[in-house]
Structure formats: structure tokens, C-alpha cells
């Protein structure tokens, strides 16, 4: 990959990390708040179904994960397994698509 491409990936990973830091805080705080006094599936669905704010927040969360995780894994694969080059990047693109699909499927699963 070109130096410009590598630099863009680095910027994307740092930016997505900043988004994730905020998302994880909101996610944990909401969970702790929501779980007080027990929690049922019906209660969760009552909160999430039809909630545009919830959909927007968790869509951003999933997209940030989709950007962040494969770039981090890219370095792990290179340094631990010596896997570099196009085959690695193609595999990671597939992994990113899998993350996005699974994540958004979960988000829509409790929204719709």
C-alpha cells in the first residue's frame, strides 16, 4: 500500500478510536442505568423499537468498529504472523464487511 494510503488508515484508526471512546462510555453508562432493578428482553425492545436516536447512535458505534478493528488487526497479522500485502488487505476488507453486516443486523434486529 502507498505511504498516503497507510497514513489515511492511521488517521482513520485514530479518528474511529476517538468515536469509540465516546460510544463505549455512553453504552456502559446506559447499560448501568437501564439494568437497575433488573432487565427483561421486553423492556429492552420497548426502549429500542422505533427509537431513531438509538438507531443513529448504534449505527455510528458499529461503523466505528468496522473501521477500527480491521486496521488494528492489520498490524497484528503483519507483526505476529508475517502476513502482509494484498491478500491480507483483501481478507481484512471481507472481515470489515462481516463486522458491518453482523453489527447492523443486530442494530436493525432490535430497532424494527
Amino acid at each position: 500500500m502507498s505511504v498516503r494510503g497507510e497514513t489515511r488508515l492511521w488517521i482513520a484508526q485514530r479518528a474511529s478510536a476517538a468515536v469509540l471512546a465516546l460510544c463505549v462510555l455512553v453504552h456502559l453508562a446506559t447499560m448501568i442505568y437501564a439494568v437497575r432493578g433488573g432487565l427483561t428482553g421486553a423492556e429492552i425492545l420497548a426502549r429500542t423499537r422505533g427509537s431513531g436516536a438509538w438507531l443513529a447512535f448504534y449505527s455510528v458505534f458499529v461503523l466505528a468498529v468496522t473501521v477500527h478493528a480491521p486496521i488494528g488487526l492489520r498490524a497484528v497479522l503483519a507483526e505476529w504472523l508475517g502476513w502482509r500485502g494484498r491478500s491480507r488487505d483483501a481478507a481484512l476488507l471481507l472481515f470489515a464487511m462481516l463486522l458491518a453486516w453482523m453489527g447492523m443486523r443486530a442494530v436493525f434486529g432490535v430497532f424494527a
Binding site: V3, R14, A75, A78, E79
Partner: protein
């Protein structure tokens, strides 16, 4: 303090074994004194490298009890485990023989990181005037005292994992030039130090900063390079 030191010294190349020597222990003895005693009195075939003996030339670095160190300024009292010292060549560099490593790749990487100064002024031009108090000059001052001993390179995990990685010393050198207002190859240097072989591979483990005998912080320089490269990329100048 025991009267003798038991010193295990690496003998051979990439393949080899430790051999043990007994060396008289003395007051204010440095690790380089120990190696020199072995070579002069016990085994003249031992290969090692040194020059200045006062921490200026950067040629005597070795792995002492598992840690890379400059041996001429390392006192035995500080590093001996009881009466034992283990000496090996620097890590992450090919071993030529015994305690001598091949430093070519290490210095070639300085060149690859565009570690050369290139000015624009001619002999007839006036001097460049750089205030010692300017921010960029202060950044240069903080990083300029590198003696090229390769202790940081030997301590670096990323250099062990990625053979193309330029390493802390070369990137530290590039950082001094990125902050040199007189230098005329800034864009090319940022391209040279970016990417998988450059600053973006650094995990900020800080082993280089922890081990640098001159108390420099290549980690800070590498972080500076990441910022400079990111700014250049966002402005379309990379």
C-alpha cells in the same frame, strides 16, 4: 563484593554458545573493562567493538544481562547479578562474530529515513538565523544528542517484528531534520518516514526511551512525526 566475576560471553555468530570466564572484580569497573580483560588476558580471539570509552562514539553497545546498554558507561556494580554477568551482541542486528554486530542495516535506515541535511543556501548567502529559543529549535535540541549506539534499535519490539521498520534512531534523526528550518527536503522526508516501515508502525512501547543511554525520547519524536505526517496528508502534501 566477591573477588571475581563469572562472565558468560556469547561466542560465535548467529549460531554459537555462551562461554564462561572468571574476571577479577575491581572498584569502579565498567562492563567494557570486563570485556577488555577477557580479550587481553584470557582469550585474544574474542571479537568486540569500542573506540572512545567515554560515552561519545556509540560503538560499544552490547546486551548485558538481557538489556541493551552502552558498556563503557555501565558500571559492573549496577548490572551484575551477584557475581554474574551475561554478555551478548545487540539484538535485531546480524551477528558478525562474538559481540560484534553488523551495523550496516541500522545506518542504511538512517539514510532511508532521509537523515541527511540538505540546505538551499550557497556559500555566498548569509547565515540562517535560528533563535535558540524558538520552539522548533528546542525540539531539535531535545533529540540531537544521539550517538548512534543502536541500543534503542536493539530494545525495539517493532524492529524485531518488522525487518523493514526504520527504527527509533533513524526516526529520531528524521525528527530533528523535520524541525530544521534550513532543510529543503521536508515533503520527501515525511513520505520516507510514513507508513508500515516508518512512524506509523510504532506502538509506543517506549522501550527505546527507557533504554536510551543519552536519555533522549525517540518515542516523542516518532509521535511528532505521526502528527507532522497526518497534517501533511490532510493538507494533500504527502
Amino acid at each position: 563484593m566477591s573477588a571475581t566475576l563469572r562472565v558468560r560471553v556469547w561466542r560465535g555468530g548467529a549460531e554459537g554458545a555462551f562461554r564462561e570466564y572468571e574476571v577479577p572484580r575491581r572498584e569502579s569497573q565498567t562492563v567494557l573493562d570486563v570485556v577488555t580483560h577477557v580479550q587481553r588476558h584470557l582469550d585474544p580471539t574474542l571479537a568486540y567493538r569500542y573506540a572512545c570509552r567515554v560515552g561519545m562514539c556509540g560503538s560499544c553497545a552490547m546486551t548485558v544481562n538481557g538489556q541493551p546498554r552502552w558498556t563503557c558507561r555501565t558500571h559492573v556494580d549496577k548490572v551484575a547479578k551477584g557475581d554474574r554477568i551475561e554478555l551478548a551482541p545487540l539484538k535485531n542486528l546480524p551477528v558478525i562474530r562474538d559481540l560484534v554486530t553488523d551495523m550496516r542495516e541500522f545506518f542504511d535506515k538512517w539514510a532511508r529515513a532521509k537523515g541527511q541535511f540538505r540546505g538551499e543556501k550557497k556559500r555566498s548567502d548569509d547565515f540562517a538565523r535560528i533563535s535558540p529559543a524558538s520552539e522548533r529549535r528546542k525540539l531539535v535540541d531535545a533529540a540531537i544528542e544521539c550517538i548512534g549506539c543502536a541500543v534503542c534499535y536493539s530494545a525495539c519490539d517493532v524492529a524485531a517484528w518488522n525487518p523493514d521498520y526504520l527504527g527509533p534512531a533513524a526516526l529520531n534523526r528524521a525528527w530533528t531534520l523535520v524541525n530544521d528550518e534550513r532543510d529543503a527536503q521536508q515533503a520527501a522526508r515525511l513520505r520516507a518516514v510514513a507508513g508500515d516501515a516508518g512512524c506509523h508502525s510504532c506502538h509506543t512501547h517506549m522501550s527505546c526511551t527507557d533504554r536510551c543511554p543519552k536519555a533522549l525520547s525517540p518515542t516523542a519524536g516518532i509521535a511528532g512525526l505521526k502528527r507532522a505526517v497526518a497534517v501533511a496528508a490532510l493538507k494533500g502534501g504527502l
